[in-house]
């Protein structure tokens, strides 16, 4: 059984848990998944599925999840996680997804408009900051499952605190993007620009294959390929100057970008819906 099959089975079987057992198990599941970004996904999902099947058996025998698994699930989950070796693949997948996703998003204007430069220095600084924030975010969220929740019971207060924390975390990112300027500015113009864009897309496609993002990666790949097409068009000798320098050309460019965004949105919705229908 591969990871996706196990997640699918888990989602299906979880619905058979009674309310209390479901709450107990879902806390465990969230805690383990948030704490295991550097552990082997296959081992983690196999553990989660085994525990779920066993809790279901216990439930059928009239035993609660807490009575079966124990009163201190966090300690027991930590003990299990300690037994697992670190997995470079899972860590690279997580870091790669964040960094590649962020870089692609930041480069959108420069991909389409050749004269817009990309400050790679700023990009590196802000990517590192993003990684740091997400790392602490995971730690914090995992901690809230068995810790903070008991301390701050008020839902609204909890939400307000989360919102405040998110704003405080996003602010430095904005400051980096706005004020950190480095000499590492590269303009992706002409044929060199086209080659770099094609290379970037090749990296993205190979990475998404390596990371196993089959279905959910499709809209991003499609959107990136559309942008690649636009990027190539705007860098071609005659077509490029028409699209970027004349008014009708600019309108066509904006229109195409809008259509591509709508397609991206539709494809994403369709894929999410079809996954929901299959109980994924």
């Amino acid at each position: 059984m591969n990871v996706n099959d196990m997640i699918q089975s888990n989602n299906f079987l979880r619905e058979k848990l009674n309310q209390n057992n479901k709450r107990y198990y879902e806390n465990l599941l969230m805690y383990v998944r948030l704490s295991s970004w550097h552990h082997d996904e296959q081992a983690i999902e196999s553990y989660l599925l085994s525990v779920l099947q066993d809790i279901l058996d216990a439930q059928n025998d009239g035993q609660s999840a807490e009575k079966y698994f124990g009163k201190d699930p966090k300690r027991l989950a930590d003990e299990y996680l300690q037994q697992l070796p670190n997995s470079g693949r899972t860590a690279i997948k997580m870091i790669g997804t964040i960094v590649l996703g962020y870089i692609l998003f930041s480069m959108l204007p420069a991909l389409v408009i050749p004269t817009k430069g990309i400050d790679f220095g700023t990009l590196i600084f802000s990517s590192l900051y993003m990684l740091l924030v997400i790392w602490f975010g995971f730690k914090y969220l995992a901690g809230t499952i068995y810790g903070m929740r008991q301390v701050i019971n008020n839902r609204i207060l909890n939400f307000a605190l989360m919102w405040l924390a998110s704003c405080l975390l996003v602010l430095p990112l904005m400051l980096i993007i706005l004020f950190v300027k480095t000499p590492l500015i590269i303009k992706l113009t002409g044929w060199i620009g086209i080659i770099i864009i094609l290379l970037l897309m090749a990296i993205l496609i190979i990475y998404s294959h390596f990371a196993g993002y089959k279905k959910m990666g499709r809209p991003v790949i499609l959107f990136s390929l559309e942008l690649t097409l636009l990027g190539i068009l705007t860098r071609l000798p005659v077509v490029g100057s028409y699209l970027t320098e004349t008014k009708p050309g600019k309108n066509i460019l904006a229109g195409l970008l809008a259509i591509f965004l709508v397609i991206f949105w539709i494809v994403t919705v369709v894929i999410i819906k079809s996954s929901e229908n299959k109980g994924e």
């Binding site: 085994s50 066993d54 079966y68 698994f69 124990g70 027991l76």
Partner: protein, 109 residues
């Protein structure tokens, strides 16, 4: 009433107990926990057995195989390996040796 066995003492013993149970017949998580209960270890939180099973797999004492279960989807059945059989025998010898000493001390109290 069952005494609360300290976790340090339990871990070492539980590994040996599980090796003895699985040597009789391969089993999966809930099956193992049911057997532990039958032997009187029903006070132990069964979340303890999962890290132990993984640790024993790492030491090559056990090998997990996905097999169809009586009801529902495939389960991971744990089989004792040759190294596991050796570890089981060592546990039995250590246990008998220690039990002899502790029992003697108890008798002399």
């Amino acid at each position: 009433m069952q005494p609360n066995i300290s976790s340090q003492m339990l871990k070492g013993i539980l590994q040996g107990v599980m090796l003895m149970i699985l040597a009789k017949q391969p089993d999966y998580g809930y099956g193992i926990s049911t057997q532990l209960n039958q032997y009187g270890l029903d006070n132990i939180p069964k979340g303890t057995i999962y890290p132990l099973l993984t640790a024993m797999e790492k030491r090559n004492y056990l090998v997990g195989k996905m097999q169809p279960s009586e009801n529902g989807p495939d389960r991971k059945y744990y089989h004792v390996t040759q190294a596991g059989q050796v570890a089981r025998q060592e546990f039995v010898q250590e246990w008998q040796f220690l039990a002899q000493i502790v029992n003697k001390l108890i008798e002399e109290r």
